[in-house]
Structures are given as C-alpha cells and as structure tokens.
Symmetry: C2
C-alpha cells in the first residue's frame, strides 16, 4: 500500500513551490440610488493611477475569512458585515511581483456607517457601472463578484445589508433596480416583499421629504434566521 508518513509529506510540501496567498475584498455599498464599490489607488508603480480592490496577504495564523474580515475592519471600521467567499483567482502572471493566488470575497455594507479615515484618503467609492479599468485582474474579480451578488440577491434577502436599519420600500426597490440593472413594477415589488413577510412595519414615516412621506420598515432578521435553520434541517 502506498502510504507516507507525515514527514515525507512535510518534505514534499516544503520542497514544493509555494505561492503567496492573498484575499481581495469587493466591498459593495449603496448610495444615491447607485451601487458602489470601495477602491483604493494602486500602490504599485506599474498600476499608477489605476484603482484596486482592497486586499492583503493572508497571515500564517488566520484563515481566509479572518483575513478578509481583518481587511474590511481596517479599512471601514465595520464589524458584523455580510460577507461571502466567491472563488480563487490564480492566473500565473496576475501579479507582477510573483505568483500570488487571491481568494475573492464580496461584502455588503451600510455605506452610511463607513467613515473613511484620514490615512485612507486614497480610498473612494465608485459606481460599479462606471468602472472601466482596474489594476491587476481586479476588473475580472469585480465582475465575477458582481454577478454572484446579482444571482444571490434574487434568491435570498441579503440586500438589506446595504441599507440603513430603517428604510422605505422605495429605497428597497431602488436597491434592487440598481443591483439587477432593471426597472421593476412598484406594485408587484411591494406585493412580493410583503408576501415574503420579512418586513417589520415600524409605524414611522420619512421626515422632511417634499412629498407624501413613505412608511419605514426594518428587516426581520430573526424570522429569516429561523427559516434558514429549518430549511437546512431536513
């Protein structure tokens, strides 16, 4: 039988090619009815003037999700954020400095809660629709993550993560229209969301709007978590 002990294996791994592992975060936000992504000006001369996703090398003592949360926390100050791994990007020459394989995550944040710090003055929110060129293969990573988001958002109610705690149905609809890049019928949209039964009516209204104020709702997180458990259970 072809068995090896752990030392053989250790040697094999030590002798084998090792690559650097990084994570890249596609941080989505929603502002002024536009889906945006947080980018930083590339710190590489090769990509001067190009925009780049937020990423870092994964450290020996952290797993991939931890690394991604660390970057997110360092850059936005936020915790408890929705995040999902998308996939790895490993083209041989994707990084000019050597073989770097990157695991892409996307996350959804409430853009109003993000305070861009002084030392982050090269960080900016960009409308996803307007982005043309990016550093590295980040355009491809962004596109893949954006597709994943579009797909996910029609299957599960994760869009709420991009909104303030209290929101109107119009805001919610604008969000979906921005993400999916479609126009939706207002009445059908309302019907659908009320039927899903994840909205809690706060009995509050918008303030200081120059028209009839809309009712405000919040997302029923508990009910959603309950149902998730149940549907996973069987």
């Amino acid at each position: 039988m072809n068995t090896k002990n752990i030392n053989t294996h250790l040697t094999e791994i030590r002798d084998y090619f090792k690559a650097a592992i990084s994570i890249d975060c596609v941080i989505f936000g929603f502002d002024e009815d536009v889906l945006k992504v947080l980018l930083i000006e590339s710190d590489l001369n090769e990509f001067k003037g190009k925009w780049s996703l937020l990423g870092d090398i994964v450290r020996p003592d952290e797993d991939l999700e931890e690394a991604a949360y660390r970057v997110l926390q360092e850059r936005t100050g936020l915790e408890d954020v929705y995040m999902e791994q998308v996939q790895a990007f490993g083209a041989i020459d994707r990084h000019p400095a050597g073989r770097v394989i990157s695991i892409a995550f996307y996350s959804l944040v409430n853009i109003g809660h993000v305070e861009l710090k002084k030392h982050n003055n090269d960080l900016h929110w960009h409308a996803v629709k307007d982005i043309r060129h990016m550093a590295f293969d980040h355009k491809e990573i962004l596109a893949t993550c954006y597709q994943r988001l579009q797909h996910k958002v029609i299957e599960q109610p994760i869009g709420f993560n991009l909104l303030p705690k209290k929101f109107s149905l119009r805001e919610l609809q604008n969000l979906y229209e921005a993400i999916l890049d479609v126009k939706l019928d207002r009445r059908n949209f309302r019907k659908k969301f009320f039927a899903m039964d994840y909205l809690i009516d706060l009995n509050e209204e918008e303030q200081e709007v120059p028209h009839r104020p809309a009712r405000l709702y919040k997302f029923n997180q508990e009910k959603y978590s309950q149902r998730q458990k149940k549907s996973l259970g069987f």
Copy 2:
C-alpha cells in the same frame, strides 16, 4: 502618495508567509442510477483507511484550472471534461503537514469512459449518499461541491456530461432524481425537457431490454453553446 516600486513589493511577498496551494477535484460519475464520486485511499498514516479526494499541489507554471485538469487527466485518462471551480478551503489546520490552502473543483464525467488503471487500484467510486467519513476536510469540500452541483443542474443543462452520448429519457430522469434526491413526475419531466429543445431524437432504440425499448437522444451541444453566447452578449 503612497506608491511602491516593484522591488518593495517583491520583498514584501518574499518575506511574507507563503502557503502551499493545492487543488482538490470532486469527480462525479453516474452509474446504476446512483451519483458517485471518485476517491482514493489516503496516503497519510494519519488518515489510514479514510478516503480522500483527488488532488495535488499546484505547480509554479500552471494556473489553477490547468492543475485541476492535470489531476483529472492523470487519474481518469479523460480530457474535455466539464469542470467548475467552487471555492477555496483554507482553515489553518486543515492539513496536518502544514498550511495548505486548497481550491476545490468539481467535474462531471461519463463513468463508462473512465478506466481505472492498475497503478490506481486504490481508486474507487463511492455513492455520494453513503459517504460518512473522509480524510482532511474533504467531507466538507465534497458537501459544498455537491450543493453547488445541485444548484447548477437546475439552472443549466449540464447533467448530460454524466451520461453516455446516447441516452433515454428515463436515464436522464434517473440522473436528475439522483442528483437532487427527489422523485419527479415522468410526464412533466419529459414535457420540460422537450420544451427546452436541447434533445436530438436519434431515431434509435434501446437494445435487449425486457420491456418496450425507449427512444435514444443526444444533447444538442451546439444549440446550447449558441444560446449561451447570445444571452451573454447583450
């Protein structure tokens, strides 16, 4: 401005922690109306008697897909196989020999075309439903890939990759029932597939069955590829 030249970056990457990168292949096959996966007995003493996915370290000169195809080719002799990256698995202690981050792929093969070679006599097909324990975190990888397959198979007609070129509708239905682990109505199933219009009637019949022989079909690959292009186009 905070720019770095390539050498700073090179140093950073050289000095930083580097992990070994592997790929793991979840190779699905379909035989005797059962969804199966190709596994190998672990070559590590730690996992003696446990089954393991087929994987290998990624080499410096190949990208992730190439590495996955290489493993698949070495183990099954097959080329031109359906394959999809699922995600990376990077828990700190997932490999006893050190930090190894693994990118998982699943692929769909025609099990009849796989000839397990002599030197592969520790390779076996296992019914996905019956698998209890596996080496490393391979149970989790398998579960994730299987979920992805279930999801994908109801969105796109990729199931054909698991069948012989010529197949009956019963075989196709059995395949879907096995993958999704549900019972389907025969008439509705037929209606749906004919409506999709991806089946070419070969005007042939099953041979030597002890009942009325079924008609045989093949998958209209061109039509599918055409439509894919169109729907991506706009």
